[in-house]
Amino acid sequence: MRPLTVRRLLWTCGGLTVALLASVVLALKLGAVPISVTDLVVNLGRAAIGRTSQIPTEYRLIIFDLRLPRILLGILVGAALSVSGASFQALLRNPLADPFVLGVSSGAALGSILAMIIAPQLAFVMPLGAFLGAIATIAAVYFLGRREGELDSTTLLLGGIISASFLSAIIMFLMTTLAGRDLRGMVFWLMGDLSTPVPVSLRWILTVGVIAGIGAIYTTAADLNLLLTGEREAIHLGVDATRVKLVVYISASLLTALAVSASGAIGYVGLLVPHAVRLLFGSDYRLLIPASALGGAIAIVLADTLARTVVAPTELPVGAMTAMAGAPVFIYLLRRGMR
């Protein structure tokens, strides 16, 4: 693989941004109500020059109030999940790490369910609960995975899987015992679902949090490259390992928590996208972080478009689509990489 240069970084990210824009246009066009590209361009143009009053009500509702917020949410969630997956893979030096596999998603889900039970009226309580749940889970898994001061890969993954099933069991317990209509919709949410628009206040927390989290992780990308070769080696080379790990653990947990509180536990994105990016563009974290963010956004936007259209007007949970579409792509990339 060629070494990373600023030029290659810009070209790769530029290319991925174009691909993301293309998938956004596709997602805006397709849906239960088909919209022609001409209508789409005309109405987007009207919005861009501020003539919103000329947009027919039907298009205003469907394009601007339903599809666009959902696509933006998908972009944020996809970017958050794949960047946190890539970060966990570097920190734990384990290619199979992923917020879903490590139980962090389940921890965030339990945290937000508990938050919703305690204070259902407050919008910001859900992401806060999710964040606390995610942090607690990753800390528990990290200590479960330590053996004689070193991270043991097998123990770590087992710790993650066991935490995930333990937390899922508690979620099931809460959902069966707490009768009430507010938890019934949780079934959709737990499978990963973008169909319910997020309240405006939460949209704000989500946007700022995701951008800040990805930014914070990107500033440590060079250190992550060295940490990947081994913690001791990195420390010998002058990396402040404690600081880097703290920043990345907190940011990655924050990203997972925000994604889960907005859209539930969408699996596989954090595992598949960073690996696909590695196979395509190499494993330098300074490229991997932004490319994973863009790739994750593309993956979720396309998966959600499929989820909306395959059996329209009924919608599938996007989590099912990421699992169904992600696995074959992953196997293809893996086999191509081995040849």
């Binding site: 693989m1 070494p3 990373l4 240069t5 600023v6 970084l9 849906g31 239960a32 109500v33 919005a47 919103t52 009053s53 947009i55 009500t57 205003r60 509702l61 469907i62 601007f64 109030d65 339903l66 599809r67 290619p95 069966t176 015992t177 009768a179 209509r181 507010d182 019934r184 919709g185 959709f188 169909s195 319910t196 628009p197 309240p199 405006v200 704000w204 946007t207 700022v208 951008i211 930014g215 990107y218 990308a221 060079a222 250190d223 490259n225 060295l226 990947l228 002058g238 990396v239 590695r278 196979l279 190499g282 494993s283 330098d284 974290y285 300074r286 909306r308 007007p313 009924t314 919608e315």
Partner: protein, 352 residues
């Protein structure tokens, strides 16, 4: 599996490489741009809804729905979207079918309701389909998610929600929907007849001892009803008492518990009696089920699935059930009040 490539430029020492951070200022610029965009986005969205609202709505009346939400309903609601089968049935019963613009995939009664444009299922309706129908009033109930109601509300649609937990509350909901839809004239006789039929049932069964029954919602796993559901209330009006007593609405019950409780009769709600009868025959050989005296002695009642829907037709199902459970209370009089006779025979045939 190992990460494949080692990072770094050729001829660069590893410590030189480590210090080189790429494009950090660019990242900060990107963050600033994104924040700026999102500052503008919510404002423009609010502005556009604010413009659209006063332009369109001519005359509205304010109602407080059964969740305590304030809803501005147009005086003449002409494009109604129903988000649940029982709401669709109520709209038809009130004679407002012509104004029903859309309903859900599960709205199958009356049969014409299945011909209306569908917006998906009640729990996860497709918001785009609803928006396409340009409704001026959306009806929701307790099986819809609160998130759906809130989302439609944010899109600027008036959503009136009913929340009946008993037969009496169902009748009240019919009355309220009558005034919300401006169909008070058809609502008044309907509500009066429903109340009269319920009072007649209560009077006939006032001396009958309630039968201990198991209402089977699902057989595998066994799911029954909790005491706060409208079905439990319907059973009480039909002279029955569920053996399951819990605050959980749709409890999973262990077969052991049911064998221990030995209900006097099993009640199945169905729209397809033949299929259900075949399923019940299959249960007779299964462990647990075969130990139930009610099943062994054929004390099984098939009741119309209308009992599952808080709508006027529910009274038919309650009357049918009451006749099957307490035939003596109805035999006293030769001229019984109007009821669904063909289904009644079916129920009796099965109870034998």
């Amino acid at each position: 599996m190992r990460f494949k490539s080692m990072p770094g430029r050729p001829n660069e020492t590893i410590s030189e490489f480590r210090k080189r951070r790429i494009l950090i200022p660019a990242v900060y610029a990107g963050i600033a741009l994104a924040l700026l965009y999102f500052c503008c986005a919510p404002v423009s969205a609010q502005a556009s809804t604010a413009q659209a609202a006063p332009a369109k709505v001519p005359a509205t009346r304010a109602f407080t729905d059964e969740l305590g939400r304030r809803v501005n309903v147009p005086l003449e609601a002409n494009r109604i979207v129903s988000l649940a089968p029982n709401l669709t049935e109520i709209v038809y019963a009130l004679g407002e079918a012509d104004h029903l613009a859309g309903d859900t995939d599960f709205c199958d009664y009356p049969p014409e309701a299945a011909q209306k444009p569908h917006v998906g299922g009640p729990v996860n309706p497709n918001l785009e389909e609803i928006a396409k129908l340009a409704p001026d009033l959306i009806l929701a109930t307790s099986i819809n998610r609160r998130e759906t109601v809130d989302a439609l509300d944010r899109l600027g649609f008036p959503v009136y929600t009913i929340d009946p937990h008993s037969v009496d509350e169902m009748i009240q909901s019919v009355q309220r929907l009558g005034s919300v839809l401006g169909a008070g004239k058809s609502a008044a006789p309907l509500v009066a007849s429903l109340r009269a039929r319920l009072a007649d049932l209560d009077r006939r069964l006032s001396h009958a001892a309630p039968r201990r029954v198991l209402f089977v919602v699902w057989t595998d796993p066994l799911i029954s009803i909790g005491r706060n559901t409208f079905i439990a209330d319907a059973l009480r009006h039909a002279g029955a008492q569920s053996v399951v007593d819990t605050a959980v609405e749709w409890p999973h019950i262990s077969m052991e518990e049911i064998v221990h409780l030995q209900p006097q009769a099993l009640i199945f709600a169905t729209a397809h009696a033949e299929d259900t009868r075949r399923d019940i025959d299959a249960l007779r050989t299964q462990p647990g089920w075969r130990d139930l005296n009610a099943l062994r002695h054929g004390n099984v009642i098939l009741v119309s699935d209308a009992i599952n829907r808080p709508a006027p037709r529910m009274l038919d199902a309650i009357e049918q059930l009451a006749r099957a459970l307490h035939p003596e209370a109805f035999a006293a009089r030769a001229a019984a009040p109007a009821g669904p006779k063909p289904v009644l025979e079916e129920a009796c045939a099965c109870a034998r």
